[in-house]
């Protein structure tokens, strides 16, 4: 697996495409700004949302139990999964009981996290992703590159070619409306035929035992309303105490995600309709470990709006796939090391710590500070790249001893020309600073 730096270098090699990617996502950030700035209470709303989440996380166990009791009373089957394997096995069991071989699924980053599609494919069950962007990347055998805009790395020509191959649309046709209609007709068949529909969950309400799924395409509703069995998969951090809290989050979510005032469909699933089976799978998968660490607990507030992706100057210029994780961007970089430190040791370093993410976040997650903490934890765990530890210790030693620092500084200035080499990553595309004859301290002594 190439590191974030390696994958980014490849991405950036196509400068025009990188500019297009950067500008497209910056446009979303600007839309978000417009939608946020018209609310005089925006900052108060963020603070309120943050406090609701703080309170919920501090009482997570009791809210989850309250939710379970209410949901069960409403006739929903509630399942608990400790990890991805358990989650997938539970989902498979439900599908197997129904005997389905093909099913529809609306957007759910949690099922990406569990690699549910691959798991079910191995059991001979085909999952048809019904979110347009997700269907596009699924055809291409790619992962989503963005949690809200899964195919944002693709241009309309790319989609036209993909649909030509998979849906038989005319070669060279890249008209968005035409292609969307082709996808619509193709998906309609699956919606009508599927007996099982899987959806994600944006919010689950402890007070009522209902859950809310937000989509712009209505695909979650179409799937769930037509299928005999509805399986909703959620992380345990999606719980909120009351319905009235939902108002706060719905206002923040769409504005932060796409600059819309509200998501097109915010559907409440309260209980199964007559003859329907409704299941909800509650997944931990490292979340309680995150909860137990005061440095990282705050990351569980995330409502997956992806505002931090769109604002991140690094993400916009490196693309989602460079993060080699289902959830990319700044938030992904603080979530992924909790799942696998070694595989994701590069991610917290894929940032300049500019802090834009933390300030755009609608629930006030201190993302850039957590990136800093992860850097410490990962290096303490011995996951530094070759040579880094020695280099850092040498630097720390030099800077701790003024006399050695002075000699080192003087040598560096005198021989800085030797750093004008391709081996120096700075010099590849930048000139080295011109070295002055005397340092400030040397000048000051003679002043």
């Amino acid at each position: 697996m190439p590191s974030h730096a390696e994958a980014s270098e490849k991405f950036i090699a196509d400068a025009q495409r990188t500019d297009w990617h950067d500008e497209t996502l910056w446009f979303v950030r600007e839309k978000r700004d417009k939608a946020a700035m018209v609310l005089r209470e925006w900052e108060a709303l963020r603070e309120h949302a943050s406090q609701i989440k703080d309170h919920t996380l501090a009482n997570l166990g009791s809210y989850l139990q309250a939710f379970e009791a209410k949901a069960q009373a409403n006739g929903i089957h509630v399942h608990w999964a400790a990890d991805a394997a358990e989650h997938n096995a539970i989902v498979h069991q439900i599908i197997a009981k129904q005997g389905s071989k093909v099913l529809v699924k609306s957007k759910s980053m949690l099922t990406e996290e569990c690699h549910l599609n691959d798991y079910l494919a191995n059991k001979g069950i085909e999952v048809v992703d019904t979110d347009l962007g997700e269907r596009i990347v699924q055809f291409r055998n790619e992962a989503p590159s963005h949690i809200v805009l899964p195919a944002i790395h693709l241009k309309r020509e790319d989609v036209g070619e993909t649909f030509h191959q998979h849906l038989g649309t005319p070669k060279g046709n890249k008209d968005p409306q035409f292609l969307t209609e082709a996808a619509r007709q193709h998906l309609r068949g699956h919606f009508l035929a599927s007996e099982v529909a899987i959806t994600g969950v944006n919010f689950a309400i402890a007070e009522t035992g209902e859950f809310v799924v937000c989509t712009n395409e209505g695909n979650a509703d179409m799937g769930a309303h037509l299928a005999k069995v509805h399986i909703a998969c959620m992380g345990i951090e999606k719980i909120i105490p009351k319905r009235e809290d939902l108002a706060v989050f719905l206002r923040l979510l769409a504005r932060s995600a796409t600059g819309q005032l509200i998501t097109t469909y915010s559907s409440h699933f309260h209980k199964p309709r007559e003859g329907q089976e409704m299941h909800i799978v509650l997944l931990d998968n490292g979340r309680t470990r995150q909860l137990a660490d005061p440095k990282y607990k705050n990351s569980l507030k995330c409502i997956r709006c992806a505002a931090c992706f769109n604002t991140c100057p690094v993400y916009r210029r490196s693309g989602g796939h460079s993060y080699h994780q289902p959830v990319a961007g700044p938030i992904g970089s603080i979530l992924a090391p909790n799942i696998d430190k070694k595989a994701n040791a590069d991610l917290p370093f894929a940032s300049t710590l500019c802090g834009s993410c933390s300030n755009v976040c609608p629930v006030k997650i201190n993302i850039h500070e957590q990136l800093w903490f992860w850097r410490q934890d990962l290096m303490a765990a011995g996951l530094a790249p070759v040579g880094k530890t020695i280099g850092m210790k040498l630097m720390a030693f030099t800077l701790a001893h003024p006399a050695i620092y002075r000699i080192g500084g003087s040598l560096l200035r005198r021989f800085s020309g030797m750093l004008n080499t391709r081996l120096n990553p700075w010099y590849k595309q930048r000139e080295m600073p011109e070295a002055p004859k005397v340092s400030f301290q040397e000048w000051y002594k003679k002043r």
Binding site: A5, D22, D33, G355, M395, W426, R430
Partner: protein, 237 residues
Amino acid sequence: MRVALFVPCYIDQFYPQVAVASLELLEKLGCEVVVPADQTCCGQPMANSGFASSTEGCDTNFTTNFAGFDYIVGPSGSCVLHLKEHHPSEKIRNSVYEICEFLTDVLKVTSLSAKFSHRVGLHQSCHGQRGLRLSSMTERNEKSFSKLEDLLGLVEGVEILKPERADECCGFGGTFCVTEEAVSVKMGQDRIKEHDANAVEYIVGADTSCLMHMEGILRRQGSSIQVKHIVEILNHA
């Protein structure tokens, strides 16, 4: 007022003119400026690379040099933010100021005898801006303010021009500039492109590290745009 001048290591070695301007400016404004001779570095390069555990020697050296002062002033938002957030001594954390905030908040400067008749592109360095709150940020719904612009406004002749994305990061990011070289340079090039479109003569900011990064790209491009730390302008006769 007695002030200790904190000169970040790379400014000491590569940008002495920034420290000279800081010293002269503070003296002009009536401060008694002391430059502790054995100061080195704030420890940020190690800490931001994940080796905060190795900065003890650096921290101790900083304390030895600066503990006796109520005002420690440095011309670098990033280094100052690091000290404020991570230095083990509370006395140090509470006494350290970035030079612009020291000028506006402590000295409450309302006039300067500086002149600089040029088109100046303002670069908002992230740690100063978002970390130290030297100016408002576009992410937040808040009243617009800028300590940098307030100060530049006191200089005769300066024409301030802002890039289209007023506060996007330049991509320096400490060791990020070499470990993520491709992204770092692309970010810098993109910032420069916007300043270029404004036909600026200088890119000006409160963090020499960002400026060093952009200067490296500008010189490689053969551009005529120069970089300057804001104190060089505030001290410009």
